[in-house]
């Protein structure tokens, strides 16, 4: 296989599988947050702040995959 083709496929796989887990995670987080806001609307501000933090931590995993994919595509390709 050509090196460039292999890099492109690898980047696609890295990002695709890497986004799977965090996607589920953010879904579960938002599910919980929505439910708690529905039950206790007064706590919305506190829940939102914590939700953003938790999403950022979850999303970091996808960002690792993204960095790997970007490095595969953009570093050292002619």
């Amino acid at each position: 296989m050509e090196l460039e083709a292999a890099r492109a496929i690898a980047a696609g796989i890295a990002m695709g599988i890497g986004a799977l887990g965090p996607g589920l995670g953010i879904g579960i987080l938002s599910f919980g947050a929505m439910q708690s806001i529905g039950r206790n609307p007064e706590a919305t501000n506190l829940i939102q702040t914590n939700l953003i933090l938790a999403i950022a931590l979850t999303e970091a995993i996808a960002i690792y995959a993204l960095v790997v994919a970007l490095v595969l595509i953009f570093v050292g390709v002619a």
């Binding site: 953003i52 970091a60 970007l70």
Partner: protein, 362 residues
């Protein structure tokens, strides 16, 4: 030396070139600024953009602060005076109002998290991180960022290049398409002599070389060095606040000698202490990659969308990127805040009055 806007319209013989994307920032000049030993220091294009962000932030803060001070003096001179809108002198307006609302929100948030005795020392750090990262991120949307710069000869193994044509007789160039080069550029063949000739404008008829663009400005956070620097500052500050709050006993979190005397589970606790050291290092890595990854990916996303559909649609993605720039600044500041509040709570003592934000671990 010449300048080229890359983002122009297709189908009108004004092509949209796919910008050259590279992870490290592009040097504006091909010669290094200075060398120390065998290390060469280049003027990279993220540096002017960070300085510009500093200037913008300082000007905003200065103008807001000056207005607040002037109004305060007028109020003290005459408590019944009114401003041009007929309002009381101490009713904030304009930038002063925006800054006051933002600072007040953060001040109250930080007070609930770290408690009233620490808020005055934690607030400046967290607020600075937020405002600085936000300003740098939003600089992404200034005109000329990422698309106006200096053309360099494309070098094989680094980037794909485009041919250029001059716009009128202005000395300003734009990328052009030819059938064989296409929209995403061609792999260049590098000829130092030809490149030198082109640099002096002595290219002969029929000779053509391929160029890449090194923009004058590129968002600071798309260079991994800036997030790393802020992350190191933040994590160092976390350790300092931990020591200030707990004294020398802060370090028992890492080297848990007292636990050794307990035997049994104490040995496990001692081992876990070393994992805490790894966890601090992982926080630096995670801070750096989160900010860099989000903003860099945003830059690539805007490039790709601009290349695919240059009219209208990029606006939606610009809105998305403004949101992401804001959220990442907020996340960086809030995570620093949570790490500080975790570090200031004694190890093993379950002090619950430090608020709900203490729950976050990297």
């Amino acid at each position: 030396m010449c300048v080229a806007p890359t983002v122009l319209l297709p189908r009108l013989d004004i092509p949209v070139a796919f910008p050259h994307v590279q992870v490290p920032p592009e040097p504006i000049f091909t010669e290094p600024l200075f060398t120390i030993g065998s290390y060469e220091f280049y003027l990279v294009n993220t540096l002017p953009s960070i300085l510009l962000a500093d200037i913008v932030l300082l000007l905003l803060a200065w103008s807001a602060g000056r207005k607040a001070k002037r109004r305060m003096e007028q109020y003290q001179a005459n408590p019944n005076a009114v401003d041009e809108k007929g309002q009381d002198m101490m009713v904030p307006s304009g930038w002063w109002n925006a800054f006051e609302a933002l600072l007040e929100y953060f001040y109250n948030l930080i007070r609930t998290v770290v408690g009233p005795q620490w808020v005055r020392s934690v607030f400046p750090l967290v607020m600075t991180i937020f405002l600085f990262v936000l300003t740098v991120n939003l600089l992404h949307f200034f005109p000329f960022v990422d698309n106006v710069g200096i053309l360099h000869c494309a070098q094989p193994g680094v980037a794909k290049g485009f041919p250029v044509t001059e716009i009128g007789n202005t000395g300003i160039y734009r990328f052009t398409f030819t059938e064989e080069v296409g929209a995403i550029g061609a792999t260049p063949t590098y000829d130092p002599e030809l490149c030198e000739a082109a640099h002096h404008g002595e290219l002969e008829e029929g000779q053509e070389i391929l160029y890449v663009l090194a923009p004058f400005l590129r968002t600071g956070t798309t260079d991994m060095n800036l997030p790393l620097a802020i992350a190191l500052t933040a994590i160092t500050a976390v350790q300092i606040f931990g020591v200030r709050a707990l004294g020398a006993s802060y370090f028992t979190k890492f080297v848990n000698l007292p636990a050794l005397s307990q035997g049994g589970l104490g040995y496990v606790q001692f081992g876990v202490g070393f994992l805490e050291i790894v966890s601090e290092l992982a926080k630096i890595l995670s801070f750096t990659l989160r900010l860099f990854g989000n903003i860099f990916a945003g830059m690539v996303l805007l490039f790709v969308i601009m290349f695919l559909i240059p009219i209208g649609v990029p606006l939606l993605f610009f809105i998305l990127e403004v949101l992401i720039g804001f959220i990442q600044a907020l996340v960086f500041a809030l995570l620093t805040l949570s790490f500080i509040s975790v570090a200031m709570v004694g190890h093993g003592s379950h002090d619950d009055d430090h608020g709900a934000h203490a729950g976050a671990h990297a």
